[in-house]
């Protein structure tokens, strides 16, 4: 009887210890999460304020490098087929395929256009993470219960202003800078889509907490499937690089429309290989590759 009582007491204390540990972990994780979110919020707010102050006090940088016409003439003398229009095309397409990667998860095209160094930049990492999230969300689960709760992120609209070549550097590596403003709109079709998109763009602790609560609430109440919206708008400088001694192939534009190996026409603008012979598709702008993307302050 005494043994039974001791065992009972031990079991009771073990259970209470386990609950204590769980309570501590839960409390610590909530506290840490709020601390991290608060830290991010404070840092972003301070940076945003500094940026606004800087913008208010300093005049905007000249948009185009005054040496550009001379540099273009120099480049044309060494590479007679060089056409700046092709770089503007590259910029238009690069912005759109980033949008494609984020909406559909298809990274293949942006990989075809970007230099390896792009993936070490902030936007390279951002696009890769977003693309992975989109692939996970779009994958059709075998379980029909999960399939019904699948979230569709739909690429709805993309608009860009005319891109502008603003800088050129000639050296061991050629570097061209193209400025473009774009606006991209995605629809999110899912139960509780409104709260989910609000979470994705939350800028404060309170808005994040409110939208998280709304996601949980809408899931519990089986909210109807409806669209919500996510947009990304801004002006960016796109840097393109190529090796210093490169020359533009005048046939590249044609080769990007018709496979040079088998003669088949590329039917998709997003194709990176020939559907017929699997040969890699050349880019109309030759060896120029997207290296970096920076927001214009």
């Amino acid at each position: 009887m005494v043994t039974g009582t001791v065992t009972g007491v031990l079991a009771e204390s073990a259970v209470s210890l386990a609950f204590g540990i769980i309570e501590a972990i839960v409390f610590a994780s909530w506290a840490l999460m709020f601390a991290v979110l608060l830290g991010i919020l404070v840092t972003v707010t301070v940076m945003r304020r500094r940026r606004l102050d800087r913008l208010a006090t300093t005049p905007p940088a000249p948009s185009t490098d005054p040496r550009l016409p001379a540099l273009l003439a120099e480049l044309r003398s060494s590479d007679p087929h060089f056409d700046p229009e092709l770089l503007l095309e590259a910029a238009q397409i690069a912005c759109l395929v980033m949008f494609a990667a984020q909406s559909t998860g298809d990274e293949q095209v942006i990989r075809h256009l970007a230099a390896p160094s792009f993936w070490r930049t902030f936007f390279g990492r951002y696009v890769r993470t977003q693309a992975r999230d989109a692939r996970v969300q779009r994958a059709t689960p075998k379980d029909p219960d999960r399939a019904s709760s699948r979230q569709a992120r739909l690429p709805v609209d993309y608009q860009a202003t005319a891109p502008e070549l603003i800088g050129l550097e000639l050296g061991p590596q050629h570097r061209a800078c193209v400025r473009v403003s774009f606006y991209q709109l995605r629809a999110v079709v899912a139960p509780g889509a409104r709260a989910q998109t609000a979470m994705a763009s939350a800028t404060s602790l309170s808005s994040l907490a409110v939208s998280f609560g709304a996601v949980v609430g809408e899931r519990l109440s089986e909210a109807a499937t409806g669209p919500s919206w996510l947009s990304w708008e801004g002006q960016y400088d796109l840097a393109f690089i190529r090796p210093g001694g490169s020359h533009t192939d005048p046939n590249a534009a044609v080769a990007s429309r018709t496979c040079t190996r088998c003669g088949a026409t590329y039917r998709s603008e997003l194709a990176t290989t020939c559907a017929n012979c699997k040969a890699s598709r050349p880019l109309p702008w030759g060896e120029w590759r997207l290296a970096d993307l920076t927001p214009v302050e």
């Binding site: 839960v26 909530w30 840490l32 999460m33 991290v36 991010i40 940076m47 940026r51 185009t64 016409p69 700046p84 229009e85 095309e89 238009q92 397409i93 759109l96 395929v97 494609a100 559909t104 902030f122 936007f123 990492r125 951002y126 993470t129 692939r135 996970v136 994958a139 689960p141 219960d145 999960r146 709760s149 569709a152 739909l154 690429p155 709805v156 993309y158 606006y183 629809a187 079709v189 998109t197 609000a198 994705a200 763009s201 998280f212 949980v216 899931r219 519990l220 109440s221 499937t225 669209p227 919500s228 919206w229 996510l230 947009s231 708008e233 801004g234 044609v254 429309r257 603008e269 997003l270």
Partner: protein, 299 residues
């Protein structure tokens, strides 16, 4: 999830938690629905089962940061301080603000500035006529309508610059892959120049067209309407035409007159923008005006 997708451990932990929570919430909703039917002949165990369910759901909610934090910290480590700096300047917006508050068209330039821009263009190119561009903008709007409604970019080949055409074609493909369709019919009823400029490299003219008609976008698999509706409406679109700073209006009229600006033949272009007769690429803006930007009001 795609079988070949290799997710980091922190992401797998969160997705596992997310899957469990989704399953629990679904079961909870089902049992609530069943409970309301069985309410009339409830058993003594009913209350206890409900209580256990509530405790489990509460537990899942309470444990949220345990599963969320590793993923959050890993992503934060990935983007670092630069991510925060860019986060302060990157404008990602959600909800109605994303749909209606963004993508608004730029304001008109002052009339004096427009006149000066047009005069600078006309001084260099005696054949330049504003009316030709505004009339062309009206025709272009009709072709853009056909292109969007049919999902076929080829309707836009004769007037879009190569970069814009590729982007337009890729967008239509993306929308098609995602089962987003557009129905409707609209046409331009007015066109006005709202911007004109000349730089050492390019000349640009922005034309604002007033459109009338209807349009509706839908996600086909779910039937969810996305934008617009069957009711007629009026809206504006900005069409920006540009050409190289040294280009001159071709003698036979060029692209606005459906003529090749290079050889003067009737306009027939391949998908790359090359004339069927002279093989010259005429949609790069070197020879003639081409559409370089198409901006729509939020709708």
């Amino acid at each position: 999830m795609a079988a070949e997708e290799k997710l980091p451990l922190t992401e797998r932990i969160f997705y596992a938690y997310s899957g469990v929570s989704r399953w629990l919430f679904k079961r909870s909703a089902e049992s609530r629905a069943a409970g309301s039917r069985a309410n009339r002949n409830s058993t003594p165990w009913g209350g206890a089962i409900t209580l256990i369910r509530v405790v489990i759901v509460l537990g899942v909610v309470l444990l949220f940061p345990v599963f969320m934090l590793p993923m959050m910290l890993a992503r934060f480590a990935l983007v670092g301080r630069k991510g925060l700096r860019y986060g302060a300047s990157v404008a990602i917006v959600s909800g109605d603000a994303a749909r209606w508050g963004r993508g608004a068209m730029p304001a008109d330039e002052p009339v004096t500035q427009i006149r000066a821009g047009l005069a600078a263009i006309a001084t260099r190119d005696q054949g330049f006529r504003v009316r030709v561009l505004t009339d062309w903008a009206v025709g272009v709007t009709g072709l853009l309508c056909r292109s969007v409604v049919t999902g076929d970019a080829a309707w836009a080949r004769t007037f879009m610059a190569n970069g814009l055409y590729r982007a337009h074609q890729a967008l239509l493909e993306l929308r098609d892959r995602s089962d987003v369709t557009c129905e409707g019919f609209w046409q331009a009823v007015d066109a006005t120049v709202v911007g004109a400029s000349r730089s050492p490299l390019v000349e640009e003219v922005r034309v604002r067209v007033t459109c009338q008609g209807w349009r509706q976008e839908r996600h086909q698999p779910t039937g969810v309407p996305l934008r617009g509706g069957p009711d007629p409406g009026t809206w504006s679109e900005d069409l920006t035409f540009a050409r190289a700073a040294d280009a001159l209006t071709p003698p036979v009229g060029g692209l606005p007159a459906s003529r090749c600006p290079s050889c003067g033949a009737a306009l027939e272009l391949d998908p790359g923008g090359a004339c069927r007769y002279c093989q010259g690429i005429v949609t790069a803006g070197r020879h003639d005006w081409v559409l370089v930007s198409w901006q729509r009001e939020p709708w």
